[in-house]
Subunit: 404 residues, 4 copies
């Protein structure tokens, strides 16, 4: 189904070549100041045609608010919004229609539904993410105003080109990983300070000048070869209160993984120390507690990525998502038609050689949707508990100390 979230809930519609794509955002707190430009900013960061690294399709992607807001203030009722599909060009795709695109969704949609859209990706097109980005922009605005939450995503690798200090897991070895330096103090510092403005200084959205330059060359090489290349996006969420996340099935990292792997072309997700953390002994991997200024506890390191037992501990949340190389390429590929006839397909149309720069606002949007929903869930619980008389009959080690 096309709905995400429990209390802050987005439902989307739209194929790549229908009248419009849109969304209904339900559960937005009333009293939030909101107008179209608040949403447009992130939509514009997502849209095609931003640089010579992305598809030349120039879609304006203007958002039209339909409901839920009056005089620039949310009413608490569902917010309807839509973006018109201006650039149809179905003819671009027509000659190749006998082939399901390799590693694309043509074949599986037809297997599932018995029918599929006549052109383009239909519902599997990346235009589907417009509704997510719009909804995420609303969630993000609330989180910033109410909690000071900051969400920043950036490109951490393209192909084999990685930002320094972003450390994948090792190859087979007898040795231990005794450094335990995950994330490196340098990278942890970056996660603590990076802003969206820092990221947008680079056309790649990789905030490391030298690496960004190498990435540009790599992407242009793919473009010239009528080929494509993948990459990873890292995201940090700062300022999230402790106590968010539902234990057991809806641990926060589980819901984040769900959200991120629902983005088209994703194949991998890791939170905190991730796969690398599997190699570091517990004695080095554990995040020791120390007293926090102003009360409560903080951790010396943050290999947990801000989540322990599925619940936030107040430290920055960070994670990394892998995006495969785009499936649609202009290079000829040997593959079969729907009826099994062997042949060769060279995709027509205009396609991104690398999607990660445009994926950045989508990752931020999905992050905001997850955190927003969890804030509302935890509100429900903690406000209810707050109405009860203080607990006096339990041993003190079972009860939250006053200093917290």
């Amino acid at each position: 189904m096309s709905t995400f979230g429990t209390l802050f809930r987005v439902t989307t519609y739209g194929e790549s070549h229908c009248a419009s794509v849109g969304a209904i955002i339900d559960g937005c707190p009333p009293g939030l100041t909101l107008s179209a430009p608040d949403i447009q900013t992130q939509l514009s960061r997502r849209r095609p045609g931003q640089s010579n690294l992305t598809t030349p399709r120039d879609e304006k992607d203007l958002v039209y608010l339909q409901s839920g807001v009056e005089h620039g203030v949310t009413l608490g009722t569902p917010i309807g919004l839509l973006v018109k599909n201006e650039d149809h060009r179905p003819h671009d795709y027509s000659e190749t229609d006998l082939y399901p695109r390799p590693s694309h969704a043509d074949y599986t949609y037809l297997s599932k539904y018995g029918v599929k859209a006549s052109s383009g990706g239909g519902r599997s097109s990346a235009r589907e993410t417009i509704g997510r980005v719009a909804a995420g922009a609303i969630a993000e605005k609330y989180l910033k105003e109410a909690y000071g939450v900051e969400i920043v995503a950036f490109v951490s690798s393209v192909g084999k080109i990685h930002m320094p200090s972003s450390t994948p897991a090792s190859a087979d070895s007898e040795d231990d990983d005794v450094t335990g330096d995950v994330p490196s103090s340098e990278f942890r510092e970056l996660l603590s300070t990076i802003t969206r403005a820092d990221v947008d200084k680079f056309v790649t959205r990789c905030p490391h000048p030298e690496t960004s330059e190498r990435m540009i060359q790599r992407i242009l090489r793919a473009k010239d070869a009528k080929d494509s290349i993948g990459g990873t996006v890292t995201c940090v969420i700062r300022g999230v209160p402790a106590g968010l996340g539902e234990p057991v099935f809806d641990k926060l990292e589980a819901v984040l993984a769900h959200a991120m792997l629902s983005i088209p072309a994703t194949k991998a997700f890791e939170v905190g120390s991730g796969f690398r953390g599997t190699e570091i002994p517990g004695s080095l991997h554990n995040d020791a507690f120390v007293a926090k200024e102003g009360g409560g506890l903080t951790t010396v390191t943050n290999r947990s990525g801000g989540i322990q037992g599925g619940i936030t501990n107040g430290e920055p949340i960070y994670f990394r998502i892998g995006f495969k190389s785009p499936a649609t390429i202009s290079q000829a590929q040997a593959t079969a038609q729907y009826d099994g006839t062997a042949g060769s397909l060279a995709a027509r149309g205009r396609h991104d050689p690398c999607v990660v720069p445009r994926a950045v606002p989508i990752v931020e949007a999905m992050s905001a949707l997850v955190i927003m929903d969890q804030v509302l869930m935890q509100n429900a619980r903690s406000t209810a508990a707050g109405r009860l008389a203080p607990i006096t009959t339990l041993p003190p080690t079972m009860v939250l100390p006053k200093s917290n």
Copy 2:
């Protein structure tokens, strides 16, 4: 909340030291032959005390069916079941109660609820997974009988010790990954043939004799050092029909990631080519189609991991999950008490130095729950479509060809 699934739905209860842990499984198809031993087999693979690699707690974990089954046949009504908590021993833990365990859930539970269980992990204990394994065993039995689905998980790494051919992503490099050999043909063959019996020949549940031996030594080294070590589990699901998975927010890989990262101690998930797939150009990464014997299409390679556009294509589904090194270790750690006082904690009690061997049936269970739910979802849709008159007004490229 403690519920997983939409149409096949498991709800669990239980802390580590209460009367029992249990589950209600709702939505099981009626007419399935089922009795306690069908469930006990997987519970016994999960329970502690199976070898000198795991915790010496010897819990029998006998399951008691309460409802939903008569004369060994399911009625279609909810199946209640429970496992008694026999080995309470709360005194084992009492002296250390002033400390939240580093990287464990003590601190975050208290932040969330304001109160927590008096001893052990409470709800965050791995005993919580008993209900999942029981529910998964029921789902798995249905899937095997109705579709011939086979689900096999195994340990693919412990610390830095990896099975051959399981290939993590590369370090920073200018070069391209031009082999595209992901997964290697050797590993793809293993994924196509491995059985649960193969896996259980090894105490590590790593089905590669030499690697298994090295893993044993690594785990014992951690045990001797009162330390712990992490690892990865790989899982393959064979025989799944094409067309499962909900596009957009509930793509099959998203729901699988959600399911897997809800297992305690998990930090990472990748499907198909995973993070490695981000490095391989599209022209090498794409899975070309060829005609399948008996009609329809199959793919030459399977970097997609059996899922394209969030929907199964009929090829084997495979993925890998990273488990961090267990947080609870007997070694002394410098860390703070709840009230901020600095000190040192050496956990008492009996703990697993490495959880991945016991995680194998949990991964299988969560896999079965996901696939089962998607089978029911797709049944709803495809049976409904099947009652409509054939589509005659659309261009043939929009409609599933007869040969499929």
Copy 3:
């Protein structure tokens, strides 16, 4: 939240005076022929300005399909649609804004959200039902084509004026209700045969000429007095297969009641014999079984209203809904302002003196949504059970006989 349904799901947005009202319908089976006129018919039966009995606002309520349909066939993807709000006229309402309308939603919306729409009913306006009617029209089209389901609602009372044979419960009495003639054979015949065309012959949508005439006079009397009057709508659903409905919490009558009492201005719901059935001894009230032509069983009477134990038995489903007299009247009422100041309110604007004629398509729509969702739910279960080997180990009285 503004979503209804589990597998066939409608989500709506829109206030009375925003840009548009609309809906996303998710879960429609693929391959259904569908175009705007299929939806427009029911929207036009719902819209204001149809006769001198309803509000003179003349809103065209043209529906615009946005997605989910290509070349007149559904794709299985979400169907977005919207209807523009043409007749804003916020000034009509401005002078009375200091008063919460008695028995309307102004006061409670403000209590809930702390903010409310500036004019009209906002989200509580009956325009909200446009999305329901549109979604219901799609569900209904599927049900008709796939199962031959027929849904017909009609007005059964206005004020104290009742159609013959629609029999409310009795006043206090020592006597038994020994006739058990509920519904009367005359009314049961009407339920079996009535069509939407029969209903639309009457401006009141009460398909009994003499009663309809009396109702017209009653409504005009209310209109002349700047007052309003309530009524009841009866609905029958024919052709529903046996086995729909979820036992326990989601019994079919429970979900129908939920659906119907979610329609604005409703206060009461009864299914089958309803309140009257509480007065008839079990020996007279029970519906005896007899063999049905072609196999299976049917019932001699139908006091159950087609539902037993929360599950359909294949007989016609019928129920009755009570709509209160509309709250907004032009007559002056003594009431307080938001700040507690006593005063007098005479609503401006144009209002329906009686809503039941326009409620008929809304009741039909909600009926279709409920049945459609249950069809999909039951598909999921029964298709799954159908893949299992036949049950051979149970006593025959536990298993569905072959003749069924």
Copy 4:
């Protein structure tokens, strides 16, 4: 499915003759003092064998808490509980197994599942309500402690014998209902003051001595005739804060109707003025506002039943539910066997001639579940809104005045 609620959620299992019936209650606020006796009280009011008016089966129905509570305080984790089935006696039912009981669920369960429990009602037995009552007792305890909410249900009619002032709708008439005295001031007074202790003074649970006596005679007459009789239960909920209930599809009255019509044997529901309210002109039916002591508004009358636009206004909520005459009677009935053979069925076993006295705690439980869930939903929203800066840019008539 067997789950009710969104944030406070109960899932039940159990047939009449399996090992136990039980429930998992998820979402209970942490820090609530709770022990088995808090639950047992309502279970004992529900259990059979309380008087000569109910079935002579004497089931103790002792509840066993499994989890979620330590040292008498809730942890915020799921509460597992169960009640053993002690009184199986499957032989009592065996001779009549060839017949589906008229108006019972035997036939429809078999139609739905293709298989059914071998004896008794299986899942459709009233024993299923044990889990509801237990869950409701927990919800109710919270609501009382946190908000002072009081929930009292009582029997308002048996057969045609009604409590004074409970006024069903009228028969066909030209006249208007000009009194508007609904509910009568006498009945409104009773709704404001009645306690559970008042109700339990009467074996019928009808708190009007003379009517109760007449009801006893009526029930005994049914019992002597091996017949059964229905009745109605009225319920009032006092002390509910304004602002609960979700507009549109989950209006509070809709969810209450859903909850109540999910109770076995129910056929009808009305809230506030109910069906009678359809007969009273708007000018007489509307509840005028007046200033409330201490700020805010109250209503002079309460025909709305405490709910306006689907949202509570702070006045007492009251509603009435119709229970049909029980289907299982010892009297011989002409009816068909499953295979269509005509015959005669006289039910064996012990059955209630009238269920309404025992239905009282079930109605209270379902009421508590609904209100509890809505409290948590509204907490989520209002706490979120409370973190935003005050609204200063809107006209004052759009914003909640300070005096509220």
